[in-house]
């Protein structure tokens, strides 16, 4: 029994890690395979094959993946900046002064209580009339709408962690409200800002449904671009994985960046004790 316990534990760990890592690993493996090896049924070819850049060549030559990556970057980054710009003061005001007596915060949140698609339909008809279809601005504004409530609520929680007395102490120490924000509140809220921004950024980057709805060619994002490899006649596994391997890189970087902050972000509010 004593020896069995650690063995079972490690089996469980391996299983869980395999479950999460395998799909990503498989994207990278497939991206570097020759077309023939991808479709090969021989077991040996699953892992042992001659690496090739064939799929990447195809992607760069015959598709607009670079532009789609750039579109995704432009839209998701600008939407994130815009969201943070409005969510930060809103969350601070909700947390510190209970602005709107709780009702306003509820209204803000309520935009997430019905299927996003309902809002998307309204946006769709308006965008058609004011020529925002298939534009960076159009998708960015929709991402802004979709994320602002979530970001505000998340930041609200982080601001609540900072005791109002801490700001009062700084004011007594001779600092104006603006200086208190600069010297005390912002440094303390930074991990929270990082986490929120990364969540919003990753959502925007990966978003598919609304992107497919609001963009066609000009502002097509990489998530939509990836789906294009899924044709009516064949699925281009190699190029799709090659493009996907590039598309997941920012997300992986974000996840790596975030794990350092998440622990800190969840514990930094310790004032007393």
């Amino acid at each position: 029994m004593k020896t069995l316990k650690p063995v079972l534990f490690w089996i469980a760990v391996v299983l869980v890690v395999f479950l999460f890592i395998f799909p990503i690993l498989w994207i990278f493996v497939t991206a570097f395979k020759l077309r023939a090896d991808i479709l090969s049924v021989s077991m040996g070819k699953l892992l042992f094959f001659t690496p090739s850049l064939e799929s990447f060549e195809h992607v760069f030559t015959y598709t607009t993946i670079v532009r789609e990556l750039a579109n995704s970057a432009i839209i998701s980054v600008s939407a994130t900046v815009l969201v943070m710009l409005f969510a930060l003061p809103a969350a601070y005001s909700f947390a510190r002064w209970n602005t709107g007596g709780g009702h306003l915060l509820f209204v803000t949140l309520s935009t997430r209580m019905f299927p996003g698609f309902l809002a998307a339909m309204a946006y769709f008809f308006v965008y058609k009339d004011i020529a925002l279809m298939d534009t960076h601005l159009g998708l960015m504004l929709f991402f802004y709408y979709f994320n602002i409530s979530f970001a505000t609520f998340l930041l609200y929680g982080f601001f609540r962690e900072i005791a109002p007395e801490l700001e009062q102490a700084a004011m007594i120490d001779g600092y104006s409200r603006f200086d208190v924000l600069r010297k005390v509140v912002i440094p303390l809220i930074l991990p929270g800002v990082a986490i929120t921004a990364v969540f919003v950024l990753v959502f925007n980057w990966n978003e598919f449904l609304f992107s497919v709805l609001f963009t066609k060619i000009n502002a097509r994002t990489v998530a939509v671009g990836l789906a294009m490899f899924w044709g009516s006649i064949e699925i281009q596994w190699g190029p799709m994985c090659a493009a996907a391997s590039m598309a997941v890189l920012p997300t992986l970087a974000a996840a790596w960046f975030m794990q350092r902050y998440i622990v800190r972000g969840l514990t930094f509010g310790a004032v007393k004790g």
Binding site: E165, Q168, A169, M171, I172, D173, Y175, L188, K272
Partner: protein, 373 residues
Amino acid sequence: MAEVRLENVTKLYGRKAAVRDVSFVCKEGEFISIVGPTGAGKSTILKMIAGIEDITSGKIYFDNRVVNELLPQERNVSMAFETYNLYPHFSVYENIAFPLRSPRWKKSFPPEKEKRKVEEIANFLGIGELLDRKPQFLSGGQKQRASLARALVRKPEVYLLDEPIAHLDARLKFSTQTLLREFATKYGSTIIYVTHDYREALGLSDRMAVLRRGVIEQIDAPEQVYYYPATDFVGTLIGEPPINLMDGEIITRDNKAFFKAGKDFSIQVREDLADAMNRVARQEDGKRITRLGIQCDDIKLSRDKISDNSFQLPVYAFVHEAERSVVTFELKDTFLQVRTTERTECRVSEMFWLDFDQDRMFFFKKTFEITKA
């Protein structure tokens, strides 16, 4: 340093008054303590002086300037919080230096002077070795001293200290108390000090104010408050064990006044005290009832009859202190505690004679129900 004057200051939270019509003067260089139970409004008074709570009505003056409308950063006060409120992203050094680096004082504290000031106060409070640490790596007592150092590093109009040593262990509490007294004397500082521990107030302050539900019940020199409590409430708050309170009937027989509580316990009240007793008497079920207060050190205890006015009670419980004993007797609706002058061996239910020192008897208006708890 300045004189701080409160004039009819009231603070309402909604319709509930946290502080009601409070007036007092803290002269320049005076050390005033505010004592009271939890929720009495002590901290609220400090926060109003500091400017982080609005004043509902009344005026606060520093010297002769009204400061009601001034923002906290314009008032030039410093405050130590019970909850420390250290800035978690700064080291202890940066925390203490923070007020010196504020836009208002930066010019008066160039780097060398700042360093000297911070090290001076940190060493004074015994946290000189902790200057590089972040608050999260400090114990509660160290945090509290760091927060106190931040309050004392600068010379403001008034120091506002909110339970600044409440979380220190007994030994540190005593030494820090001595340091605070030294600090106050050395720099002639105006200090308003909030505590729930009457011993701190007795030991530190020039005058102490006893606060109850937002109202000052008594403000006087500590020994006056201790020896001459103005109300029954002040009596119960000061002293360990607190003052003995008992409700009893006033009986007049042959022109002599007696105080009678229960069937075993009746004493003749000296003539000159009868006035004081009658003044606070109230009618209850056709009887004239009054409240008597006497401190545990002012009752004599003996196995033999002491005087004509002494009476006998059985021992209910007893606790030995190092050199004395506290013996408890049961009365009808309360306990009577007596501290002996020397350690006394006794048994439960043993009969003792008790004799009240009539010079030290107080008669109070009833302001709350006595319970046996």
